[in-house]
Symmetry: C2
Subunit: 520 residues, 2 copies
């Protein structure tokens, strides 16, 4: 069996898994039930000849009372056309298909949208100007990580990734939709049909984007590739983990970073039609966009607009840079996604862009020789704390050298570091406070952020103060807790604090003090 046959086999197996999946609801008969923010899917037979990817237009109009939502469908191979939609409101929905092909036109049906099950808070949206919350208004604080290859690396690594993500407690992960070279490993499939035979494994130098000899038909997607990617996204969704889907990136061995505008735009529309109904999807237009030399700023802007216009669910949209920050004030950006760790500039950035900021690459915990990949776990932990008291968010990454031939965490697999436990501790601490998102104090003497009448979190960074007179605002009475961010210990301080409050501190670095409004 050659690789091509293997991929076809796996595509078939995955499609079957998809249809029977808990969250995807195949339609065709009335009376079907879908949970609020779940995935409704309808499949229809249609033409399998010619090139359905470019010759067939297909979509559906979903109706709920006075509302209508136009949703693009997609060709899923083997003569099957699908449309996916995630209803945001409980009640009775109906739909009717449209197409340039007769048999796909005027197909109609409906479903009953039931209340969301416990634990499903809906998709994440921006909120309170600089923060995020779920659709049900539960605050969401992104404390994510990066596993670029989770979506196409296959087992056992994808399963290990999910297990480690869950155990570590990350609630967001950055994943690439297009494949990237994996050293001695291979992506499970390719997103496009090959032209000619596949090269035997090992014949390509996957680490060098200039040397792949394989050719692809950029007008014909490989549905199996996307099907298995969707299973990975769905698994994240079920685990409560947001999938920050990276649409373009420069780590390419096959030419997918330079397909040209027609293929780029077709790819984007296909990706949005397939993935947007998953409520945990965010769109990251690119990773290190400025390293993709074949594209211009006009291309990136156009990609944003295509995603914005073609996504009926309006998932979050951002773009991530290497050296040249994008102008995140552009209206199609929902939040800024940065590769920086100069959190002290957060104030000016928040003011300039007027939207939330996630420092999505703050270097990696690890021990590789590259200087971006060898932070100590302590340094990674303290960067998260610094981000927090600057009123912004950060994203973890890990690059410990592999000792067993498996991938490093930044691609997929197993976590080895000790910062993730501390990162999740910080997220849970924020969630416990009831804040809707911390705002950095202006010109603080020591770094702190909060919602001043409710909660104030001080982080002393490298300062080893033995005491400090905290200038607590207003007449609010606070209780205080001493926090060791590394040991993850909390020491409640006796008494109630108001106004200028001198407190004896440990004299050790990297300590924090949390003030919470006292009493009910």
């Amino acid at each position: 069996m050659d690789r091509r046959e293997l991929i076809k086999l796996s595509a078939g197996a995955m499609l079957a898994g998809m249809v029977s999946g808990a969250a995807a609801a195949p339609a065709g008969k009335a009376g079907k039930q879908v949970e609020q923010w779940g995935v409704f899917e309808a499949a229809f037979p249609g033409p399998a000849t010619g090139n359905p990817f470019v010759e067939v237009q297909f979509g559906a109009r979903f109706t709920f009372g006075h509302r209508t939502v136009e949703v693009a469908g997609f060709y899923d191979g083997d003569g099957t056309y699908k449309v996916r939609f995630s209803p945001d409101t409980a009640g009775q929905w109906s739909y009717e298909t449209s197409s340039n092909v007769k048999e796909l036109t005027g197909q109609s049906g409906g479903f009953s949208c039931t209340a969301a099950a416990g634990g499903d808070h809906g998709p994440v949206l921006t909120a309170h100007n600089f923060h995020f919350q779920y659709a049900d208004a539960t605050p969401y604080f992104p404390f994510g990580t990066t596993c670029y290859s989770y979506g196409f690396i296959g087992e056992p690594y994808a399963g290990e990734t999910l297990k480690n993500l869950r155990e570590a407690g990350f609630n967001k992960v950055r994943i690439c939709l297009l494949p990237k070279p994996l050293g001695k490993l291979q992506p499970v499939a390719m997103p496009y049909e090959r032209v000619g035979e596949a090269l035997p494994p090992g014949a390509e130098n996957l680490a060098d984007s200039s040397t792949s000899k394989e050719q692809f038909d950029l007008a014909r997607f490989n549905p199996a590739y996307f099907q298995q990617f969707e299973l990975r996204v769905q698994a994240l969704m079920e685990a409560g983990i947001e999938a920050d889907v990276i649409l373009f990136h420069p780590y390419d061995a096959w030419g997918f970073k330079a397909m040209g505008p027609e293929a780029d735009d077709r790819y984007l529309r296909y990706a949005v039609a397939r993935l947007s109904a998953y409520r945990n999807v965010w769109w990251s237009i690119a990773n290190e966009y400025d390293l993709v030399r074949s594209k211009t700023m006009a291309d990136w802007d156009r990609f944003f607009r295509i995603v914005q216009e073609s996504d009926p669910h309006s998932r979050l949209r951002s773009i991530h840079h290497s050296h040249v920050p994008y102008d995140h004030s552009k209206p199609w950006c929902t939040h800024a996604s940065l590769q920086e760790y100069d959190f002290e500039r957060s104030g000016e950035r928040l003011a300039a862009w007027n939207k939330p900021i996630i420092y999505d690459e703050i270097q990696y915990e690890g021990n590789i020789a590259r200087r971006w990949g060898n932070l100590s776990p302590e340094e990674m932990t303290y960067r998260f704390w610094r981000a927090t008291v600057y009123g912004v968010y950060a994203t973890h990454g890990e690059t410990y050298m592999s000792t067993d031939g498996g991938p490093v965490w930044s691609d997929a697999g197993r976590l080895h570091g000790s910062s993730p436990a501390r990162i999740t501790y910080l997220r849970k601490l924020l969630e416990r406070t009831g804040t809707t998102g911390l705002m950095a104090a202006e010109k603080p003497y020591y770094l702190n952020a909060g919602n001043p009448g409710q909660v104030i979190l001080y982080y002393f960074d490298y300062h080893c103060a033995g005491e400090y007179e905290f200038p607590l605002p207003g007449n609010t009475k606070f209780k205080a807790t001493m926090i060791d961010p590394w040991a993850m210990t909390e020491t409640p301080l006796a008494g109630v604090y108001s106004g200028k409050s001198k407190i004896t501190l440990t004299g050790r670095p990297h300590m924090a003090v949390l003030f919470e409004r006292a009493g009910a």
Copy 2:
């Protein structure tokens, strides 16, 4: 006995001590011997009436072969006029006095200058563009600290300071010439004669510069104040410690920071006449000059020129800022003295100023509430390492809260921290390598500095690399040593390294690797 009498008594005692001191050689008879870079002093009786400080001009011309050096003298009280001179060349020197007073005119004498004793390398000068060396060409790397009040705080604190300086191994200390408030302690004397009675101790709020009720005659110095200061400077000299004498500062309870130009200039000339002959004296025109609101930039420039013109020994000259850096490219600055710790900007500063840089205030190890005064010892240590691999120098300071009513180290007294041992370890490491001063690598992948064919010092800062391929320059063969800057341990690595050399590292942060030319 009131305070005034106490001061007079102490002045007399100190004057006697001075004359019998090992380094000061009273003259008046021929055949006197003075070591090279030692202090020659000649004293003459003269008018004690009127105001000798302003009415009597007095100095001497020192002659060595074809060279003559004009040296200003000073009135030392009690009808005694002195002139001090530090000969830089062994051989026979002669002098003749000049004055606007007959009895102080035309006094002549001489001395034989003998070779410097072992351990006396002479005064420190700038060298190799960005570095320092002693007059005998021995490299000097400033690894100093700050004890502002050492010169006027008196015993037991001054003695403790000296003992701690020696034991810690600092080779430079920043000290204020004018007094600063000391909380519940009192300066041993005042530099000017009081007008009216001294207030009883405790009557002044010394911490508040606006409230001292004492008045001083700014045309009449108090020689006792300067005499005891000189004893402190001489003790430093004998311990091999450079005295970075701060001439003005903003920490003032008595109005000395706003005396007006006539008194300022007289003070500078008096200070230079008294102190310049001590070979360990450096002139720091001010500490935090920009916080002295009563003076303009033209004043600071004038002070530099006065010191430059009136100092026959051309001691080093700098000025230290708080928020607004001085233009250190001005020709009278011998080196830059900064209050910063953004060492990453050293390259542009070295290029702009073209002279050595000492980051003379990089915050303080300690535990006080002020954010500049509570670095961990690790952080202080790593700042010294960062400075070193950026090709610049740094100065220590310490502010642990006093638990016994004594001063904190930044004034005087006892060291409590654990960074000084590491700082001195780094100095001795540099001295051992034989470098004349490290130059930072241009655009280094990991921070390093060296003299490329001789020695290269890498410091990995927060990077926990598990391995790295060092790009060693040229064909030079190096031996390598792994260094733990905090543990102060050195692990020689087996073998000889040349060109691209991959070395297994510890994967721990804040490690260093030293390459030294192999063989003879």
